[in-house]
């Protein structure tokens, strides 16, 4: 396994300005819209007891991190259709190494996305929260992004180029809406909130809140996110083995 390659692949993706702007634009607009509306007047959210702007920032960060991670699907689909991954097969890089490079890049992009969103929120709205809470919130969201990176990789493995865009949008919208990353779940019927409990994006938002609170039940979100990670990881390995056997 070449560490140099993993680094270079991540760096290349971070330097791809067009893709980065695309990844960051929507969450930043969401932050400005919500933050500008309910901004720095210090209201406190009744459920979490966190300042409203902190809840919003965490929600948008989860959204941004998720989007950055899932977007690996496009990288993989594009590289497959170009034949770039065929070129890489004439190097010591293994198939596992290739997928790992995408996981690392997904995490790098997600981290940048989370940090930028939190940074912009702090600079514009001066939310009152200890630095340690911000750190924990960011780390929790970043760790929670892993299953989304795997989901992006899985879509990349499966989807034909013309099918990738609609599939990505369906998964992405579903995750964003059901997880309450777009609109608060309270406005939906109760059954939606129940369904949300099974969706990783709901818990991605929740681990961010727990990080900010520095307390609460972290076991349930950890279990749900780990279960998703293991299931998606198993699917990726299965798919990869099947592709390799077909050759």
């Amino acid at each position: 396994m070449s560490i140099a390659y993993l680094g270079r692949e991540s760096l290349r993706q971070l330097k791809n300005m067009r893709a980065m702007i695309f990844t960051l634009a929507v969450p930043l607009v969401m932050l400005l819209a919500f933050g500008g509306t309910f901004g720095g007047r210090g209201q406190v959210d009744a459920v979490t007891h966190l300042p409203w702007i902190v809840v919003t920032t965490i929600q948008v960060s989860a959204y941004g991190g998720m989007m950055a991670a899932l977007s690996q699907a496009f990288n993989i689909v594009t590289e497959r259709s170009l034949g770039w991954n065929r070129q890489l097969r004439v190097t010591p890089l293994t198939g596992t190494g290739y997928l790992l490079s995408k996981l690392v890049a997904a995490l790098a992009l997600a981290l940048l996305s989370i940090v930028v969103i939190v940074g912009v929120s702090i600079a514009l709205y001066h939310p009152v929260l200890p630095a340690m809470s911000w750190m924990l919130a960011c780390l929790a969201i970043w760790a929670g992004v892993v299953p989304f990176a795997l989901l992006g990789i899985l879509i990349g493995q499966f989807a034909k180029p013309e099918f990738a865009q609609p599939l990505f949008m369906a998964v992405f919208m579903g995750m964003a809406v059901l997880g309450g990353l777009w609109i608060p779940l309270q406005i939906f019927p109760a059954w939606v909130a129940n369904v949300a409990q099974a969706v990783p994006s709901y818990w991605l938002n929740r681990v961010g809140q727990l990080g900010a609170l520095q307390s609460g039940d972290a076991l349930t979100p950890a279990l749900v996110l780990t279960a998703w990670t293991l299931a998606l990881g198993a699917l990726i390995v299965w798919r990869y083995r099947r592709d390799a056997a077909r050759g």
Partner: protein, 317 residues
């Protein structure tokens, strides 16, 4: 020193559903040889290269590079390739592409050196999306040589190149082979195979139909084709008699139209006209490489046609 051949393919077969892309290829390439895989589209050139590299699994048979598993040779950085449908990422510059692939290798050349060898230094900072066809192939060549390989596979490397780009490309290829390295390139241009290869392996319908020096293979491809409408009945005896005329390499007949491939069309035509006065619409044309492929493959499928017999010993498989 390792004396294993650079490439050894034995009984290699690959089927995709009902299509047989490679149909029993045996091929040994020694270190230092420059081999052209010559054949029309769909002859099995690209699939053979994929199998040799271990990128596709053979349905039957084995592929070895340097006496071992192709993957092992690739891991050691001993193999480079410009593959069919192996493009570069459009958002990267040429230098970035080379650097990215170099970082996957264990002991690569410096990026500058690889660019230099592929004559890409002046296009190093250009984005892949903005390259012309010829520049693109040079960039891909730089990516292929960055591991400093002993063996290089080039699948139609000069496709989309103009004459000048082609000349430059082969110049850098020559520098590469002058250092005693092994090159296998696929092409459907006989002149390219003739000019740059020590040995030409002709593939058609997934089989090796000829394997020899450029002179030997050119002898197969050269010659003329005599076509005429025959007024006489077509029988095996007639076919045998025509096959025995001077210079005749192969005889074929379809819908009353007779086709003879000959190494000496003057002698054949004289004898032919002396034997038959009921021939019309006689044409004599240069025998193209496609005709040669067709003749070589049909002689194997169609038992009634005479076997080509002018190939020198060892050239015909």
């Amino acid at each position: 020193m390792n004396t294993s051949p650079a490439i050894r393919l034995s009984g290699l077969r690959k089927t995709f559903g009902s299509l047989t892309a490679v149909d029993g290829v045996d091929l040994t390439v020694n270190a230092g040889e420059v081999i052209a895989l010559l054949g029309p589209n769909g002859a099995g050139k690209s699939t053979t290269i994929d199998l040799a590299l271990g990128l596709a699994r053979p349905t039957a048979g084995t592929a070895e590079l340097f006496g071992g598993d192709p993957r092992a040779a690739i891991r050691e950085g001993r193999v480079g390739a410009m593959l069919q449908g192996g493009a570069l990422l459009p958002t990267l510059t040429v230098a970035e592409s080379v650097a990215l692939v170099a970082s996957a290798h264990r002991h690569p050349l410096s990026v500058a050196e690889a660019l230099e060898r592929a004559r890409c230094t002046e296009i190093a900072k250009r984005r892949v999306a903005k390259l012309s066809g010829g520049q693109m192939q040079r960039a891909r060549f730089a990516v292929a040589v960055v591991s400093n390989p002993d063996l290089l596979f080039l699948d139609e490397p000069t496709a989309a190149m103009d004459v000048e780009a082609r000349r430059t490309f082969w110049l850098s290829m020559r520098e590469f082979t002058d250092q005693g390295r092994t090159v296998v390139f696929a092409t459907h241009y006989l002149d390219e195979a003739d000019a740059y290869a020590d040995r030409i392996v002709m593939l058609a319908r997934g089989r090796v139909v000829a394997d020899g020096t450029p002179a030997e293979v050119k002898a197969v491809v050269s010659g003329r084709r005599i076509a005429a409408t025959a007024g006489f009945a077509w029988t095996p005896e007639v076919a045998a008699a025509l096959g025995a005329l001077p210079g005749v390499r192969s005889v074929d007949q379809r819908n009353g139209r007779l086709t003879i491939v000959s190494d000496d069309s003057d002698a054949t035509l004289r004898a032919l006209l002396a034997a038959h006065d009921d021939l019309h619409d006689i044409e004599v044309t240069a025998h193209t490489m496609d005709d040669a492929f067709l003749a070589l493959t049909e002689s194997r499928d169609d038992a009634t046609a005479p076997t080509p017999h002018t190939l020198s010993e060892g050239a015909l498989r």
